[in-house]
């Protein structure tokens, strides 16, 4: 793979994005929701109803189960521990947001080139299929990741200033690092690679988008399962999921290259 060619095509994608900022609006909106929702649930709602989180029987039961498995919770007073538990779980939302947003960019990546009749000239260059597809994935992945990290920084900063003392410290842990720096990016890469693979075979970006967004479901299930107290995902479990995702992503790279049929695209696509 030629890094310069990948960089050249990525620069084109990013320039197009710059000239059409509305394209990244879904990611920005989702991150904004991810920022607002945890504070509404953990701080605003209890203040409005006058009932503390720790007095809720369900939360107390889940917390008792989680305290033994998640680091830092047992050292906090009950209300702070409940807040810390919720803020940790809502980190999962930050993994889902870039996937949903970036998938909308990636879904258009190959179909858009087909629709704009710009794919054939691109295929006359020495660009290989793998380079083409990796450029498309990275061009959707990197901006989404940057927005995600920016949102996370805001999340931690807001937690420091708004949540109970000691809550923010529980967010800065090895588990959170695995979630944010490994699981999130790997899940995004796998979802984007799948989107690009589908995008090269369909005529409508919505088809690619709808199928690829299904990859969000396991992450949502992880969030819901934990909040409901069905299970707690520990760091070692997260690492295993990350390894699985890395393998899935690599397989998807090969799969998408095999699926990208230059000849059919040139001769049959209308």
């Amino acid at each position: 793979m030629n890094g310069r060619r990948i960089a050249a095509l990525m620069s084109k994608e990013l320039r197009e994005m710059r000239s059409n900022p509305a394209a990244i609006l879904p990611v920005v909106l989702l991150i904004a929701v991810c920022l607002v929702l945890p504070f509404f649930v953990a701080i605003v709602l209890p203040a409005m109803t006058g009932e503390s989180l720790s007095s809720d029987r369900t939360i107390a039961e889940v917390l008792a189960y989680a305290q033994a498995r998640l680091p830092g919770l047992d050292a906090l007073p009950p209300e702070s521990a409940a807040q810390a538990f919720l803020f940790q779980q809502f980190l999962f939302l930050f993994l889902v947001a870039p996937i949903v947003g970036a998938v909308s960019l990636a879904a258009y990546a190959v179909v858009g080139e087909k629709q704009g009749r710009t794919l054939e000239p691109l295929l006359t260059t020495p660009l290989t299929t793998a380079e083409l597809l990796v450029s498309k994935v990275l061009a959707a992945f990197l901006p989404a990741l940057a927005i995600e990290f920016f949102g996370l920084a805001l999340y931690v900063a807001l937690t420091v200033s708004v949540a109970a003392p000691g809550v923010a410290r529980t967010l800065v842990s090895g588990r959170s690092l695995i979630l944010v720096a490994l699981l999130g990016p790997l899940a995004s890469l796998a979802a984007l690679q799948l989107t690009i693979a589908i995008s090269s075979r369909v005529n409508d970006p919505r088809s690619a988008q709808q199928i690829a967004v299904l990859l969000v479901l396991p992450l949502v299930l992880m969030l819901v399962g934990q909040v409901a107290g069905a299970f707690v995902i520990t760091s070692s479990m997260l690492l295993a999921v990350c390894a699985g995702l890395a393998i899935v992503w690599i397989l998807l790279v090969f799969f998408s290259v095999a699926l990208f049929d230059r000849e059919s695209i040139l001769t049959r696509w209308k």
Partner: protein, 322 residues
Amino acid sequence: MITVERVTRRFGSRTAVDDVSFDVKAGEVFGLLGPNGAGKTTTLRMLGGLIPPTSGTVRIDGQPFTRATSHALRERVGFLTETPGLWDQLTVEENLLVYARLFSVKDPRSAVRSILETFELRDRRADRVALLSKGMKQKLAIARALVHTPRVVLLDEPTANLDPQTARTVRDLLRTLRDAGRAIVVSTHNLDEIERVADRVALVSGRLIAIGEPAVLRREVFGHRLRVRVGASREGTPAFVRAAEGAGAHDVRADDGLLSMSVDGANGSTPAIVRALVEAGADIFEVADDAPSLEDVYLRLLETGRPEGLRYSSKEYPGAAR
């Protein structure tokens, strides 16, 4: 520089290109002519390594296009596709810059500056492509195909949408590229244009119908013809026709003081014909070669297929010799 050997391309049961062979040398402009659906674009795509032939071989500088070589060989080819296919949201300069980098041009910015100058696009370099006219887009697409100074240039309808002035610029550019030793293949419907720039043309309609220099094709298809303008005389015209035929002309046609006739050899019988006409009482105002247009040649060949005796041999062009 380009060698096409017995290339056939099928799409399912349909044969788009059937056993076509030709070559294009360095410093040559080669015209690919044919009606819609004749396989011109498919042929160009095979020459550019975009699609493989079903059978046969395409070589660039002696190297065949294969799965292993196609990426490297594409670096030597500049391809103007049927539609300009430019990124509308990017500027003129950005479009060129991306392609210069994709082709690993050493100094992409300087290459882009140079091609912008050549195509007189410098003033529009910061404009978004969406704002350009169709003609400007076509001009930019040609510039894009040449930004990496390719050794082989493939142009599909290069002057479509261009105004006469820009079309002339493109023709001049083709001549400059030819003088610089590039091998150029132009597919077009514009016969007048191809006649002005092409050193050789190939007429295809699925298979190769004819190939050669335009003047040679003309002669082979229509023979050598002479045009004689005489003083208008309705009464005398039949006598003039008889006189010309008596002096060795064939297929003599008369139209309002203009005689057109087929003669043997380049100029051998011309003095005898002129003498015979003068003796028959004709006042001669003009004697000239009667060169049919390439369009006449094209239409005749499409109607009749390859006439006997066309100047290519089965050894040189096996596909055409069937």
